[in-house]
Amino acid sequence: MFNPENLIRKGLPKGYFKDILVRSLLGGITYLMVLIAVLLFGKIIIDGAPAIFTSEFPFVDTEFLTAKNETLHVFDDAKGTRHQLPASKYNEYIEAHAGQQIYNEQTFSYSGGGIAGPIIGTALLTCGSIILALFFGVCAAIYLAEYAKQSPFIHAVRLAILNLAGIPSIVFGLFGFSVFVLAAPVITANPVDRSLLVLPLFIEGWALSFQGWNSSLMAGCATLACMILPVVITASEESLRAVPQGFRDASLAMGGTRWQTIRKCVLPFSLPGILTSSLLAITRVAGETAPIMFTAAVAAKDDFPWEGLANPFDILSSQVQALPYHIYTLAARIPSSEYTQRAQFGSVLVFLILVAMLSFGSMVLRAKMRKKLKW
């Protein structure tokens, strides 16, 4: 007798185990990545947390975040108590306990005090380069999205953007060093000999000399700005194109000029998108080390950038500490021991928290934008 149930295969379908196996293998690989990320972050949190968190209110070691970077002195007093003091406090201690001997003294460079200098330096570098990149990048994107037609020029621009995006960061370091540090123009009364070109100005004694800005905040910002320009242009162009064509058509139909249309009907609507995607660029700028190694960063600086300046603009021509470079110094130049761990892992944790906040912020904002902006 015909039994329709016979048509249904008994047991597991063919290839079921293979299916499960492949799936779990791929899933395993995926979750392995997640696990590695969690482990990495966990290790840094566990080792770095003692440096920046405390058990008392406000639960954050403000000194680590706000104090200057100093040498750490580790020593025993005559009673056998171990002290760990940054240089300034160490000198106070020695003065206060004049006449008493200390023992087993060890010193660790860059490990005492806090990391305010590097944090501020990174903030300055990031702000400077983002302002530059946003200005030039958005302008270029407006041209690409609003004005450009197919032409050899546009083709060349797109090719240039593509190529710039692929250049290794160390090559940007070389570029920044040879252009901004050694060859960028300055107005000066006495040009140096290696200047590429000296153009006399009409004011007595002054000349425009292509002798570079030396290693300075300015040179670092310019190098970083060149590096993220393609990212900013691409992101901005996308946001501009996301504004519906009808907005433009309506404005133009009302007799608005192209510039009025852009200013009133396109830019305001694309600005949130531009700013959100530039957060991604900020993350990248804040984390780069290779381009600033030769153009802006200095390992040890005992004052904040704005202190002791004759002229506020001098801040642009002074070198700064930067958090990624500081981490490089801590990793490569000083030994790892129980006394340097606070500085080493603490700095890395602070840096990672900053980067994570930026990257998380950009993710959330992007998700929000997608929900909100529906034309």
């Binding site: 020029f153 190529n163 090559v171 133009l252 510039w259 490569a332 980067v355």
Partner: protein, 635 residues
């Protein structure tokens, strides 16, 4: 791609069409900003070339000096000397390995006891020093303080005694004896505990007794070493004279350059007195032409001596060969011995071929510019800042970069693409929402942080793992250096996974959904759909993802600078896969390490820019290929 323009820019007043208008100015302003990207790219190319191209003439001159000063001539003989030294070292290692292998047990026992003692000392050292250095301890003044210090010391000692390394080759009783002797030791004692001293003595005695049967081998090695003495002394003698010649030539070059810079400075000087002074300095810097021919003639007179020494060496090396022992008992020792035996005929034929080379060498052969190119592109050594001669060969750096990239991609390709297929084809939306942000976060981790993790945590862990006995079968284990190609490759894999993942996922996403629907309608399982339809359809996109990942790995700097180990040498491929566990240097790392410290405008400085140009070309080539594949997918 370009939005249709209902009106061109000619809107506005009719009169404004011709000549300047506000709208045109704005348009021009935006266009010039877009042109900035082209300008920057050109600036990069021009300045890299400007700094880099001077390298080749400069390097040619260095190679020319290398020849006309006679350094090249000395290096012919020196090569044999080095080869002889290598064989000597192999024989010595065979000899020592034989002895140490025979008294391995004594060796391990004495090492373990010493390690235990050292660990203990390290931990109690600071508190002990306090007692010893404290004035109260010596003068006997303040007993109270001394008591505190002693209590501290005791506490530290008790802690240290619970925290000692394992000693698998010592018996339980011996370990206990050692620990007891440490526990009962007065703080002031400086001599080794009796057991440590005893085990050291036992090891020395064992060595002594095992060395006796090998007396003949020892003599053979000594004979072999003595045979090279003559060559050593003649090379040393020639080295001194050619170095002097080289210095004379370089000084003359420098003086000539000085004279030019001084004169140039004088031409620019505004102050007449200063100008006079500079011109006087320039006159003083006028150099005599360095005497090259004189020392060269003396050097050439040494040719017959050189030839004679080589002939003698060839005979004595040949004579020594039969007196080598046929075999040794220890595996490691016989490996070294066999290596030495294998090197023997090569050494002899090299030495025999040398006199012809010596006789045909002349210092007048011109050094063409192409020699500098060839030496740069095929040079196997990158030696800078040395006393003898600087060589700028890109091969060791390029090989380092390549090997790290191989390790990174071997790990990152399966992981990145596997994860992309899983997330795109199999994962539930909730899983996607978890995995994607995590991978995006990995992408945001700055490379210097990964380098930091490598140097502080990962490298050490990897070496610890490599010392496990159960992993001895892995080639290259146990690892000598914690910073090596493999460590760097693993961290770079972590960096390139997000790149490969997101691009591959995009490529899968871009496959028209009709493909999947059609496949499922025909009764294919999810697995079949994924691997037979989706992946092949997205193949060129996935290939582009891999290439972009490769570009990222080659161009990465901070991780390799911190973690790759910075040894400028082509890894020793005779160890097979083990070569991946050796340290290495990279194209990016060398720029980052050396640019900050070379004098501006020197040949070395320019060499770094040439490396930069090479990187630029290679990475752009990779990226261009990747984009070629990407555009093909889009079509």
């Amino acid at each position: 791609m370009i939005s249709p323009n209902p009106q061109s820019e000619s809107s506005g007043h009719r009169f404004q069409r011709r000549g300047f208008s506000f709208e045109r100015a704005i348009r021009f302003f935006f266009a010039s900003n877009a042109g900035l990207t082209i300008f920057i790219l050109l600036l990069i190319i021009v300045f890299l070339l400007r700094e880099g191209l001077g390298f080749f003439p400069g390097y040619r001159r260095e190679l020319e000096v290398y020849r006309i000063a006679g350094l090249e001539f000395v290096d012919i003989s020196r090569k044999n000397l080095t080869a002889h030294e290598q064989v000597t070292s192999l024989l010595n290692r065979a000899y020592q390995a034989e002895i140490n292998g025979k008294c391995l047990d004594e060796l391990l026992r004495s090492q373990e006891a010493s390690a235990l003692y050292n660990t203990f000392n390290d931990q109690v050292g600071p508190t002990r020093d306090l007692i010893l250095n404290n004035p109260a301890a010596t003068t006997g003044g303040d007993d109270g303080m001394l008591a505190v210090l002693r209590a501290n010391y005791e506490a530290q000692r008790a802690k240290a005694l619970t925290n000692l390394p394992a000693t698998p080759h010592l018996s339980e009783a011996e370990r206990q004896e050692l620990i007891d002797s440490l526990r009962n030791r007065p703080a002031e004692a400086t001599d080794e505990p009796p057991l440590v001293a005893k085990l050291n003595a036992a090891f020395a005695a064992a060595r002594q007794s095992h060395a006796e049967p090998l007396q003949k081998f020892r003599e053979t090695i000594d004979n072999f070493e003595t045979a090279g003495m003559d060559l050593g002394s003649i090379v040393m003698e020639m080295t001194e004279s050619v170095t002097a010649t080289k210095e004379a030539i370089q000084t003359a070059d420098i003086l000539e350059k000085d004279r030019k810079t001084l004169l140039a400075a004088a031409a620019n000087a505004k102050d007449p007195i200063e100008r006079e002074k500079l011109i006087a300095d320039a006159k003083a810097a006028l150099a005599d032409k360095p005497d090259v021919e004189g020392p060269m003639a003396t050097l050439m007179e040494k040719k017959p001596d050189c030839v004679k020494v080589h002939e003698q060496l060839a005979t004595s090396v040949g004579e020594i060969f039969p007196s080598l022992p046929g075999s040794l008992t220890q595996a490691k020792a016989s490996r070294y011995l066999n290596a030495a035996k294998a090197a023997w005929p090569v050494l002899i034929s090299d030495i025999k071929a040398t006199p012809a080379k010596i006789n045909s060498w002349t210092h007048t052969d011109p050094v063409p510019l192409s020699a500098a190119f060839i030496s740069f592109l095929t040079g196997k050594s990158w030696v800078t800042g040395g006393e003898w001669q600087d060589f700028y060969g890109i091969i060791p750096l390029a090989v380092g970069s390549l090997m790290i990239a191989i390790v990174a991609l071997t790990i990152a390709i399966p992981v990145g693409i596997g994860a992309a297929i899983y997330v795109n084809q199999f994962a539930a939306p909730r899983e996607q929402a978890l995995v994607k942000p995590v991978i995006e976060f990995i992408q945001a981790i700055p490379s210097v942080v990964l380098g930091f993790i490598g140097i502080m945590v990962f490298g050490t862990i990897l070496r610890e793992i490599s010392t496990y006995d159960s992993l001895r079968w892995v080639p290259g284990f146990p690892i000598d250096e914690r910073l090596n190609i493999f460590t760097a490759g693993c961290l770079l894999a972590l960096m390139s996974v997000p790149t490969i993942f997101s691009l591959a996922e995009d490529a899968l996403n871009n496959v028209p959904s009709a493909y999947a629907e059609a496949s499922e309608a025909l009764g294919a399982s999810r697995l079949q759909t994924a691997f037979r339809v989706m992946v092949p359809a997205a193949f060129s996109g996935i290939l582009a993802a891999v290439l972009l990942g490769l570009g990222r790995v080659i161009g990465e700097t901070m991780v390799v600078l911190l973690v790759a180990g910075n040894r400028i040498k082509i890894p020793d491929f005779s160890e097979g896969i083990g070569a991946f566990f050796q340290p290495s240097h990279t194209l990016t790392g060398i720029i980052a390490q050396e640019l900050g410290e070379v004098p501006l405008g020197s040949v070395h400085y320019r060499a770094l820019f040439v490396i930069g140009i090479t990187l630029f070309v290679v990475v752009l080539g990779i990226n261009a290929t990747a984009h070629h594949f990407l555009t093909r997918t889009k079509k």
